[in-house]
Amino acid sequence: MKDVRDAAFVARASDGRLIRRPMSPHLGVYRWPVTMATSILNRATGIFLTAGTLMLVWWLTAAAAGPAAFNVVQDFLHGPLGLLLLLGWSASLFFHLLSGLRHLAWDLGYGFAKPGLNPLSWAVLGGTGLATALVWITAYSRLGG
C-alpha cells in the first residue's frame, strides 16, 4: 500500500482470500462511442423533461385561472426563451421516447447483438431530428408561416 486510499480496494473473495478490488478506469480515458452518448443523453433528456413538467403545470394552472393568466404564459412561450425551451423539450421528448423504445426492446431481450448497436443509436438520433423538424414545420405551417 502506497496510499491510504488503497485500503478501500482491499477485499475478500468468496473463498476468503484477500484480494485487491479491480478499479474501473476514469471516464476521461474512453473515446465516445455513439452508444455511450445516447445512454448519457437518455438520462439528461429525462432530467430536462422533468423540468419541463413545471411548464406543463404552469400552462394548466394558468388556463384554469382565466384568460389574463393564460395570456402571460402564451406570451412567455412565444418569446425567444419560450421558443428555445419548447425546441429543447420537443427534441428531448422525441429522443427520450425513441431511446426508451430501444431500452424496452433491450429489456425484452432484443437488439443486444453488437453489430446492430451503433446503427440503432444513430437511428435514434436521426429519428429525433426528423420528428422534431416535422413537428416544428407543422407548427409554423399551421400558424401560417
Partner: protein, 132 residues
C-alpha cells in the same frame, strides 16, 4: 465451488441475492410500465398541442372540457410525474453517496412531484367542470 474465485461478493450477499440497492424489482418494473403507457400518451399530447396552436384560453378550456381529453390529460399527468420521480430517484442513487442527503433528496422530489401532479390534475378538473 469453482466459481468462487471469479465472484467478488460475500457469501451473505450472494445468498440474499440482493445488490447494494437492497431492493428495486418493483421500482424497475413500475418505471417500464410507466414508460410503455407514456408512448401513446406523449404522442397524443404532441398532436394535441399542435392542434391547439394559437388557441386562446376559452378554446383551451373547451378542449379540456371534452371528457376524453380531460381523462387523457389526467392520465398523462399521473404517469408522467410517477415516471419522472422514479427516474430522478435512480439518478440520485447513482450520484449522491451520502445516505442522509440521498434519502432527503428522494423524499423531497417525490413530495414535489405528487404535489405538482395534484395541482395540474385540479386545474384539469376545473377546466373540465367550467364547461359542464
Amino acid at each position: 465451488m469453482a466459481d468462487h474465485v471469479k465472484i467478488m461478493r460475500s457469501q451473505l450477499g450472494r445468498a440474499r441475492g440482493l445488490g447494494a440497492a437492497k431492493s428495486g424489482a418493483e421500482h424497475w418494473w413500475a418505471e417500464r410500465v410507466g414508460a410503455a403507457a407514456l408512448i401513446p400518451l406523449s404522442l397524443w399530447f404532441v398532436f394535441s398541442i399542435l392542434s391547439l396552436l394559437g388557441a386562446d384560453q376559452p378554446a383551451v378550456a373547451a378542449w379540456a372540457g371534452h371528457p376524453l381529453n380531460a381523462a387523457l390529460l389526467l392520465a398523462l399527468i399521473l404517469v408522467t410525474f410517477h415516471h419522472a420521480q422514479l427516474g430522478l430517484q435512480v439518478v440520485y442513487e447513482d450520484y449522491i453517496h451520502t445516505a442522509g442527503v440521498r434519502t432527503a433528496a428522494v423524499l423531497v422530489t417525490k413530495g414535489a412531484a405528487y404535489l405538482l401532479a395534484l395541482l395540474a390534475a385540479l386545474s384539469v378538473g376545473k377546466l373540465f367542470f367550467l364547461t359542464h
